[in-house]
Assembly symmetry: C2
Homo-oligomer: 357 residues x 2
């Protein structure tokens, strides 16, 4: 009896050991964000990702999410993920422009695709492969991390009636859009987010861009600047999940699948959160500050910005074969996808606007 | 030594027995679709869902997906899910219009929200709660199942230059849009999908609507009808996952989380698949049949259709309090969300179109 009991106990143990890795392997990861833990909806997606992963794995796979208030390295996410201090990061690809200019295409570029077109390019137009090729040199995996949709062109103290009004204008606008504006005579500056409101209020700058109503409303710009310009410079800002490749490879296959699935789910959520938040915030701004005027830059200005953008892309492409490869891919895909956008999503809203006239 | 070994073996066994339910509970589900297994991209989403669930659960939770070619009950999905023959279904909410008219709002309605706006309404505007309230009476859970975006208005043999051209026109167009067209004098018919091509080719009908380029191209309508009209009647057709409530409640929490997460992921995929597929197919159609003309109904026709739609909604609302509740919710949300769409996504494409002129 004793022998039989001992053998059967050993067998039970063996059977359970042979069960899927899922139940027995505890994995504890950390993820660093470029934003503070309270910057919604950006921080919402990674925090929700961690919650979902914990639920799906029954608590066996957990990810501790740390905001910039903790690690103090908002722009160090790529290095920290590569180095393994964090297994994951949540950031934006265009922050790595200084390391590799090609990274800008996996976030957004002036006059680029909208979110629908860019998603189609990522998943059906070769974008995911081009992104991974770019990030292979950093030993990290890169995934879409949530899109803001079209960002607003920014808050201006004075109306821009033509190209002359841009000359000498002091504006906070980072990245490629800043380079485009600089070509047109704008005095482009960078200012820490915490100082933006005061700088605009005191006239240190004449204009600035941030994101869109959902996030701008918390900064208060609508209280001090009367002109809110429509967007051209960040038509589909895609945030980014970074994963340390070795850490990913060590995960059980079940956890890899959970991670990829949860990233896709919270990425969709972020677009929805930001869209709904912007609809709410825009209604509130208009109601509380009825004098806000929404403006679109005049055609002369738009055309000059478009020409300057194209020149900028061609300059970078002449110096960098990788940049050229992705630029060519995006230009070709945009042409095809825009033809469809024009007769579907765009035409529908246009028809309704014309009826409302 | 022997005793120590025996105790430690028993302990290992106990620890493993105490591990999460995940590894030991095998769940086998079946899902019925309204479409055949080869109707991409509609069937792609549920098939991908099953694949992801199997991967995440290490094979412990599997879902066998069956197309209409197997169960022969394309429009029986709600009944079969309610009855428990299938734990899940993949269909479209407007198919249940005959059981409860309110269900149409959880798919799409003429002149309704676009996909971005509707997603925001579902998740941030009370839509999910209203949908579940509607489906509680059927003892099933309902979730978004993937959106086609704006569907095309259909293929026409003759150009529609005004309201007179609609009188007596024989057209295949189902649902509320058919009721709207009927109000304008169209002779609305329903014809099985397999007979559509021949009916249009032989003149049994003068026009028909299907989905959009990605799916229309396989039907071949572009080879026999020269006018391709832009959409108004299905601006954001959301497919639907149905789940038997008792089956869902019996699932371990881990599997519930997997299911909800995977549904959201494949729902995002379906929009991308259909968008990219339409961009590809539209390019191909235009190249192979350069005489296809894309047309938008004249303003006179659009205005009459809009008025007829609003009348139809008000008629149903007067008879049905649930219908009125959801109609009021959608009308209010559309107003708020459209104000944001207009200055962001819509304005961006408009600006670029004006530059291209």
């Amino acid at each position: 009896m004793r022998l039989v009991y001992r053998i059967s106990t050993a067998l039970v143990a063996l059977v359970l050991i042979a069960a899927p890795a899922l139940a027995v392997e505890k994995v504890r990861w950390k993820m660093a964000m470029s934003w503070s833990s309270t910057l919604t909806p950006f921080a919402t997606a990674p925090i929700e990702l961690a919650k979902i992963i914990e639920e799906m794995s029954g608590g066996d796979f957990t990810i501790r999410v740390e905001g910039a208030e903790k690690h103090k390295a908002a722009l160090g996410i790529l290095d920290m993920t590569k180095g393994g201090q964090y297994e994951m990061g949540h950031s934006a690809s265009y922050y790595w422009k200084g390391k590799d200019i090609t990274t800008v295409f996996f976030c957004t570029v002036p006059f680029g695709m909208n979110a629908d077109e860019q998603n189609a390019w990522f998943y059906k137009g070769g974008g995911m492969e081009l992104m991974q090729k770019t990030y292979d040199k950093f030993d990290v995996l890169s995934f879409p991390g949530g899109n803001t949709g079209v960002q607003m062109g920014g808050w201006f103290q004075k109306e821009i009636k033509g190209l002359d009004d841009l000359k000498g204008l002091k504006m906070r606008i980072p990245g490629l859009a800043g380079e485009v504006f600089a070509k047109l005579g704008v005095n482009v500056t960078n200012i820490a987010p915490g100082e933006l409101y005061t700088s605009l209020d005191r006239g240190t700058i004449d204009a600035l861009e941030w994101v869109g109503p959902a996030m701008d409303i918390k900064m208060g710009f609508h209280k001090i600047a009367p002109f809110y310009y429509t967007g051209w410079h960040e038509p589909a800002t895609e945030l980014q999940f970074l994963i340390n490749k070795k850490a990913y490879d060590k995960l059980p296959k079940e956890y890899q699948a959970m991670l990829v699935t949860a990233m896709k789910a919270v990425t969709a959520d972020l677009f929805i959160d930001n869209f709904a938040g912007s609809a709410d915030a825009w209604e509130q701004m208009k109601t509380e500050f009825p004098n806000i005027q929404v403006k679109t830059f005049p055609k002369e200005v738009m055309q000059a910005m478009k020409t300057a953008s194209d020149e900028l892309y061609d300059e970078y492409a002449a110096k960098d074969a990788s940049f050229k490869e992705v630029l060519d891919s995006q230009r070709a895909y945009t042409k095809k996808a825009r033809a469809w956008t024009n007769i579907s999503e765009y035409n529908y809203i246009k028809t309704l606007e014309e009826l409302a006239d």
